[in-house]
C-alpha cells in the first residue's frame, strides 16, 4: 500500500534522488560507534540537532498557550504548566531541552576541537559553528525571560547590564535589548519576537550552511 503510493508519486516526480542525496552519505569507520565504541563522540553534533528539533516542536506547542504580555505572561505559563494536560511535560521538554542542547553543542565543539577537525579545509565551518553557538546562547537568553517570574526578570536585568558594559556600544545594545529604558513590557515583547522568529530563522539558515558544508567537505579523517 505505502509502497504503491510511493511508486505512484516517484514515477511522476522522481523523488528518490532527493532523499538519496540526503540519506546516502559516507560514514567512515573511525566515526562509526559500531566499529570503535569511542567513536560515540562523533554523535554529539547529530544529538544537538535532534534536541534542536525537540525544542522547535515543543516551543511551537507552548506558543499555543503562551502570551508575551507582562500582565498575562506568568499567568499563562502557570496555566499551561498546571492546568493543561501534559503541560508540565511539554514545558519540561522545552526547559530541560534548552540546557541539554547547550551541553550537546559544547561537547560537539570540544570533539571538533580535540580531533582538530576545524583545520584546513574546514575553517569556514568552524566559524559557522561559532555563529550557531552565539544564536543558541541568544535563544537561551531570550527564552529565559518569557515566563516573567522573578528569576527571569532579574536574570535579564543582569544580562542586559553585562551587555551594557561593552565599551562605546554598550548603552545602545542595552536600549535595543530592552526596547526602552527598563526591563519591562517592551522587553518582553521583543524578547518573544527574537525567541520565536528571528533567532530560530537565523539558526535554521546557519544549520543549513553547516550541513551543506560538512556534506561537501566530508567528515575529517582519523587521528
Amino acid at each position: 500500500m505505502l509502497r504503491a503510493i510511493y511508486d505512484w508519486v516517484d514515477e511522476r516526480l522522481d523523488i528518490t534522488p532527493l532523499w538519496r542525496d540526503v540519506a546516502d552519505h559516507e560514514v567512515p569507520e573511525h566515526v562509526n560507534p559500531a566499529h570503535h565504541f569511542s567513536a560515540f563522540i562523533y554523535c554529539f553534533g547529530g544529538l544537538t540537532f535532534f534536541v534542536v528539533v525537540i525544542q522547535i516542536l515543543s516551543g511551537m506547542f507552548l506558543a499555543m498557550y503562551y502570551v508575551p504580555d507582562i500582565v498575562n505572561a506568568h499567568a499563562s505559563v502557570a496555566y499551561l504548566q498546571s492546568e493543561v494536560a501534559m503541560g508540565a511535560i511539554v514545558r519540561g521538554m522545552h526547559h530541560w531541552g534548552a540546557s541539554v542542547a547547550i551541553v550537546m553543542l559544547f561537547l560537539h565543539t570540544l570533539r571538533v576541537f580535540f580531533t582538530g577537525s576545524y583545520k584546513h579545509p574546514r575553517e569556514f565551518n568552524w566559524l559557522v559553528g561559532m555563529l550557531i553557538f552565539g544564536v543558541m546562547l541568544g535563544l537561551g537568553f531570550t527564552g529565559y525571560l518569557l515566563p516573567w517570574d522573578n528569576k527571569a526578570y532579574f536574570a535579564t536585568k543582569v544580562g542586559v547590564q553585562i551587555a551594557a558594559s561593552v565599551p562605546v556600544l554598550g548603552p545602545y545594545i542595552a536600549s535595543f535589548l530592552q526596547g526602552g529604558d527598563i526591563v519591562g513590557a517592551q522587553t518582553l515583547a521583543r524578547f518573544f519576537a527574537l525567541h520565536v522568529f528571528f533567532l530560530p530563522a537565523a539558526l535554521l539558515a546557519l544549520l543549513g550552511v553547516h550541513f551543506i558544508l560538512i556534506r561537501r567537505q566530508g567528515i575529517s579523517g582519523p587521528l
Binding site: V84, M86, M93
Partner: protein, 165 residues
C-alpha cells in the same frame, strides 16, 4: 519470491518500529497538550437571581441581564460577562430564551421590526421566531432559540445554564 522476511526487511521493520515508538513517545505529550480544550469538560453553570418576581413574568417577553463569571484559560474577567435572557410565560410555564440567533449567531430582539409584530427578529438576515422561540418557517434560522434552565425559588425567577438540546 519466498514469504520469509529477509534480514534486510527485518532490520528495516525493527528500526522503523523503534523509531516510531520513540517518536510517538515524544509527540504524544505535545499532541495531548494541544488537544486539551477538546477533551476538557465544560464548567457547570450556576443559577442567577435576575431580580425578577415570578408574578412579574407575563406573556410578553421581558429582557433580563445577569452576570456570569467564567474563567477563560488564565484570564478571569473581573466583572464577568453580561448575558441576556428573554423571560416569558407560555401556557403557564416560564421559559427563558437566549437572544443568540440560531442562524449565524447575531442577537435577536423582541418586537423590534414593525413589519413583524410580536416576534423575535434578527436584523442580520431577517431571521424570525415566535414568542416561545420556535423559528418561523421560511426564515433563515434552522432551529428554535436556545433556552436557559429556569428555577423559581421563594417567588423569584432564577436563570441557570443553557439547556442541552
Amino acid at each position: 519470491m519466498s514469504k520469509k522476511v529477509s534480514r534486510r526487511q527485518f532490520l528495516t521493520y525493527t528500526l522503523g518500529g523503534t523509531a516510531g515508538f520513540l517518536a510517538s513517545g515524544m509527540l504524544f505529550p505535545m499532541v495531548r497538550f494541544a488537544i486539551d480544550p477538546i477533551l476538557r469538560k465544560g464548567e457547570k453553570g450556576n443559577f442567577h437571581d435576575v431580580n425578577l418576581k415570578e408574578s412579574e413574568v407575563t406573556d410578553i417577553p421581558k429582557q433580563v441581564k445577569f452576570t456570569e463569571h467564567r474563567k477563560d484559560g488564565w484570564y478571569n474577567p473581573p466583572k464577568g460577562e453580561t448575558l441576556t435572557a428573554w423571560v416569558v410565560r407560555v401556557k403557564g410555564e416560564i421559559i427563558a430564551l437566549s437572544p443568540i440567533c440560531k442562524h449565524l449567531g447575531c442577537t435577536v430582539n423582541w418586537n423590534s421590526n414593525p413589519m413583524y409584530k410580536n416576534e423575535f427578529f434578527c436584523p442580520c438576515h431577517f431571521g424570525r421566531y415566535y414568542k416561545d422561540g420556535t423559528n418561523v418557517p421560511g426564515t433563515p434560522p434552522p432551529k428554535p432559540l436556545d433556552r436557559y434552565e429556569v428555577k423559581v425559588e421563594n417567588g423569584r425567577v432564577l436563570i441557570g445554564p443553557l439547556q442541552k438540546t
